[in-house]
Amino acid sequence: MQGTMTAKFSEEMLKRIEEILKRYATKRAAVLPVLYLAQKEFGCINDTALAAVSRALKISRADVYGLATFYSMFHEEPLGRNVIFLCDNLACTLLGAESLRDHLEKKLDIRMGETTADGRFTLKNAECLGACGQAPVMLVNDDFYEGLTEARIDEVLEKYK
């Protein structure tokens, strides 16, 4: 495939991968944290990212791809600047996650899985975020928000440009 022989991580990322590898007995075992770095560096898990991970860990691209497509937090398409993960599992749904989803979709004028035209937000559903006691919940980038209402969502989103 075009370019797959040359895709690689930046020097800085390679150093971080070195550090990660020290924690594992085999290179293969490090694939998840390295995929995470790849997503940071390449914006998503695209062909280049797959090739770079495969080259860094000496495992096939298909094996990396199989893993990347299993975990919902790795994305094949580039995402918006901010990513909203709205939990849609049982507890959150019982406490109104569905109407929050409608609210978000309407407010941002996108459907679940889509990115706003200005690239500011991507909206994604999440499996149980492990905070059922505070349902309904969402994650914006690495920040966690609980006990959500429509008003609270409007307020929170203002922080993300």
């Binding site: 495939m1 075009q2 370019g3 797959t4 022989m5 040359t6 690689k8 062909d47 797959l50 080259r55 495992i59 096939s60 691209r61 298909a62 094996d63 990396v64 791809y65 199989g66 497509t69 299993f70």
Partner: protein, 834 residues
């Protein structure tokens, strides 16, 4: 061996220990259904069709993952088991498209068979159908995602046996899809994932709707491509090939095939196949009848012999054709023509290995594929078995899977160096100094004392520690060590001498050895006497009386010319006629210009081939020959196994098998061979070459080979005008004219490309896909660039065998003085952007 006692359904059996329950059941003939289990793969325990009851264990267990233990009582049939298995099947069927009507797997499908067996399956699920469709991302394999039963056999076979890891479960969950990475590029087109798929989810795209099994005839043959000699099952419909599969775990390949064996058969029915003899008249080819043509050949040859003597006629036999045809070919040249000028393109490889073998007194053990699989260590020197001999490559992978270690010394970056546990990147052309260094360490031979270790180390480009480790590698565990050598050695100056040293080393330490052979019958053609100085069975010319008696003719006493000596003689006017059977020197031999001039200087050139190759286009007469599928005979594989195969499809009108052409031509020349068929020919060979295949070492041995001088230089040297060193590599997808006419292999890889280091590319301002001109002192070619981070700066790598860009035309043809083999592994070039 101790045994264990186990009970299946109240019947007691004895069996070997160390099996799983399903393995024991299979050996004892007890039926247990399965989707995911396959003996050659690691157990998965995924499909749960193999559920059984173990007495004393409350829940049903999967027979494929449960070890069979002494005293175990197993129930394979009960109401409970039936219900559980049926439920699994119901689950599979709930999502299955049930498009058996046009599924190529129908009647050979495990899902059909098991459903038929269980028959009354309920349909309680009402899932929305998953419209995942069929993907055609792989150019040769259709992946029907809806038919998949998620047994993961394809993933396991691709990773565990093929080592490609090209297919994996993606989007695991309700809609798991067995896919390759977007854009592909990792599949090696072995097609093994097609064979192991229990349903029609992986299918051969060359076959699509080719026929139902009952509409086809099937027969076993031997793959015509490389020296592995794999058993192939040819599937024919209406006397045409429609598919090739491996036999069911038969042959040296044990159920595997490589891309060439499986997808490379298209040349057999290529419209460009020759079907009428051609005679050149006033510069143009005209079609002619066989009788007329053979009479013409006979008359021309007789006239030349009459005018100039038989010593001006030579013959190039075929590393592609059968043992029998090659035997007849040399008999024809020797007794009908009266010339020993006989050789083949085995000169480019096996003949040099043979020269090394014949010059070695010590008899090292020759390895078999089985020895390689069971070895603990394999040392590869100057070979790339994963490309040249893929099934031997699989044996190496199997060795590694069992914990064995692969070390390789090679200046190139290849599939085999990537697979290796340790790669010693020696300098270009450094195989011989490396072997000299190993021989010095391991043989303690005073004749090697003039070499200095530091000099040798410097020439190999390795540190003396590396060399010491390599030497030590051969000291331990020798009985389970196999040394593999290939063209990196045989095509080097003093390559035959190096082979001889390697064989002495193997014999002294107790290791075994094998040579990688690119072409299917390199070994057979040599052993049948297609050599200027050896008769069938490698008998020296001094034994000729025995053959003269059998053949009723006289054999010249002095050895003839080898391949390049014939070409040289042609250029000098000392050779007037050349008969080429199934070879294409203009493409396959180094130094294209030289070869072209030589062939152009001949008075009379006969070429016998399937196609009008570039060589055939220069001929005076072209004789259309039969392919492997249309003739019977035997090929000798790289282990020395002589494997017979039958003719499975009729020849087109106008096409004839090599052996038949030779018999008829001999008759036209008034010295007809009295042979009725291949069986009588085989009988003649067996009577003259007792124990064909096991060579009588001491009787046929030659004198020891001379050593190079200590000052000898091997590498490409320096030349500022030609700053890059081009290393030739082999490609799985091409090895000659048949592969270039095989649609499947062209799909696998369209064109040759040259690998260029990333840094060099930046300096040259060229990128992936750009076209460049490679120019050497001997020729130039145009080729596309592929970037590579693994190869060192200043070197290029390019495969041989593609018809679109032939690096052999860049090579010189300097001959080794011992083996007369041209040195053809590297050449200095410059690059020009276009």
């Amino acid at each position: 061996m101790s045994t264990i006692k186990i009970t299946f359904d109240d019947k007691m059996y004895e069996t070997e220990p160390g099996l799983t329950v399903i393995q024991a059941a299979d050996r004892l003939g007890v039926f247990i259904p399965r989707f995911c289990y396959l003996e050659k793969l690691s157990p998965l325990g995924g499909c749960r069709m193999c559920l059984v009851t173990l007495k004393g264990v409350p829940k049903l267990q999967t027979a494929c993952t449960t070890p069979a233990k002494d005293g175990m009582e197993i129930i394979t049939r009960s109401e409970e088991i039936h219900k559980a298995r049926k439920a699994m099947l119901e689950f599979q069927l709930a999502q299955h498209p049930l498009d058996c009507f046009y599924c190529d797997k129908a009647t050979e499908c495990d899902l059909q068979d098991l459903t038929y067996l269980f028959a009354d399956i309920e349909h309680r699920y009402d899932f929305p159908p998953h419209k995942r469709g069929t993907v055609y991302e792989n150019r040769l394999i259709e992946r029907n995602l809806e038919r998949c039963v998620h047994c993961e056999r394809c993933i396991r076979v691709c990773g565990e046996i093929q080592g490609a890891h090209a297919v994996n479960a993606t989007k695991r969950g309700r809609v798991t899809e067995m896919r390759e990475v977007p854009g592909g590029g990792e599949c090696q087109y072995c097609g093994h994932c097609i064979d192991v798929c229990p349903v029609g989810a992986n299918l051969d795209r060359l076959f699509t709707y080719g026929g139902r099994p009952f509409q086809m005839e099937m027969g076993d043959s031997i793959c015509p491509y490389c020296g592995c000699g794999c058993t192939v099952s040819l599937n024919m419909r209406d006397e045409k090939l429609v598919r090739v599969r491996p036999g069911v775990d038969t042959g040296v390949n044990k159920g595997s095939l490589c891309a060439r064996g499986r997808f490379g058969w298209g040349f057999v029915h290529d419209p460009a196949r020759l079907t009428r003899p051609l005679i050149r008249k006033e510069g143009k080819f005209v079609e002619a009848g066989w009788d007329e043509t053979l009479l013409y050949v006979a008359t021309r040859l007789e006239k030349i012999i009459k005018e100039k003597g038989p010593g001006v006629v030579g013959g190039i036999g075929s590393v592609r054709s059968t043992d029998e045809a090659n035997y007849l070919f040399q008999r024809f040249l020797r007794t009908v023509i009266g010339s020993n000028h006989i050789d083949s393109s085995a000169r480019l490889n096996y003949a040099a290995a043979l020269a090394g073998w014949l010059g070695t007194k010590e008899d090292a053990r020759e390895a078999t594929f089985e020895n390689v699989r069971e070895a603990h260590r394999v040392l590869v020197i100057g070979a790339d078995p994963l490309e040249t001999n893929p099934i031997l490559g699989l044996a190496i992978k199997a060795m590694q899977n069992r914990g064995g270690t692969l070390w390789i010394t090679d200046p190139r970056v290849t599939l085999t160096t990537r697979l290796s546990n340790r790669h010693f990147p020696i300098s270009a052309g450094a195989e011989v100094p490396l072997i000299l260094a190993l021989a010095r360490a391991g043989l303690k031979d005073p004749s090697l004392s003039e070499f200095r270790d530091t000099d040798l180390a410097a020439r190999t480009g390795l540190s003396s520690e590396d060399l010491a480790e390599l030497a030590a590698f051969l000291e331990e565990d020798a009985a389970k060590t196999v040394i593999l050598a290939g063209r990196g050695v045989t095509q080097a100056p003093f390559g035959a001498t190096a082979i001889s040293l390697l064989l002495r080393l193997a014999a002294t330490k107790g290791a075994s050895y094998l040579f990688t052979l690119d072409k299917n019958n390199e070994r057979g053609s040599c052993e049948m006497g297609v050599l200027p100085d050896r008769l069938p069975g490698l008998a020296p010319l001094s034994e000729k009386a025995r053959f003269e008696k059998a053949w009723g003719g006289r054999i010249p006493e002095t050895p003839g010319y080898s391949a390049y000596e014939m070409l040289q003689a042609a250029r000098e006017g000392k050779l007037s006629a050349l008969y080429i059977m199934g070879e294409n020197p203009l493409v396959d031999f180094p130094d294209t210009k030289f070869v072209e001039e030589a062939l152009g200087s001949l008075d009379f050139l006969v070429v016998q081939d399937l196609f009008r190759t570039r060589t055939a286009s220069m001929a005076d007469v072209v004789l259309p020959a039969a392919s492997f599928a249309e003739k019977s005979g035997s090929f000798t594989n790289l282990e020395g196994r002589v494997q017979r195969f039958p003719s499975l499809i009729p020849t087109e009108e106008g096409v004839r098998a090599d052996a038949r052409i030779l018999v008829e031509l001999s008759r036209k020349m008034g010295k007809g061979f009295a042979l009725k068929n291949i069986a009588s020919l085989r009988a003649e060979i067996d009577s003259l070459v007792p124990m064909n295949g096991t060579r009588r070492k001491l009787e046929v041995m030659g004198p020891p080979l001379s050593l190079p001088g200590a000052e000898m230089h091997w590498g490409p040297g320096e030349d500022p005008d030609y700053p890059y060193v081009l290393l030739l590599t082999s490609s799985l997808y091409r090895n000659g004219s048949m592969s270039n006419r095989a649609v499947g292999l062209k799909k696998a890889q369209q064109k040759a490309c040259v690998l260029l280091n990333e840094g060099d590319a930046a300096v040259l301002k060229t990128g992936e896909g750009d076209k460049v001109m490679l120019i050497s002192k001997y020729g130039e070619i145009q080729v596309g660039v592929k970037l590579c981070h693994e190869i060192p700066g200043g070197t290029l790598q390019m495969p041989e065998g593609f018809s679109d860009a032939n690096p052999k035309s860049l090579l010189p043809h300097e001959l080794d003085q011992v083996s007369r083999t041209p040195m053809a592994r590297f050449v200095r070039v410059k690059i020009r952007k276009i």
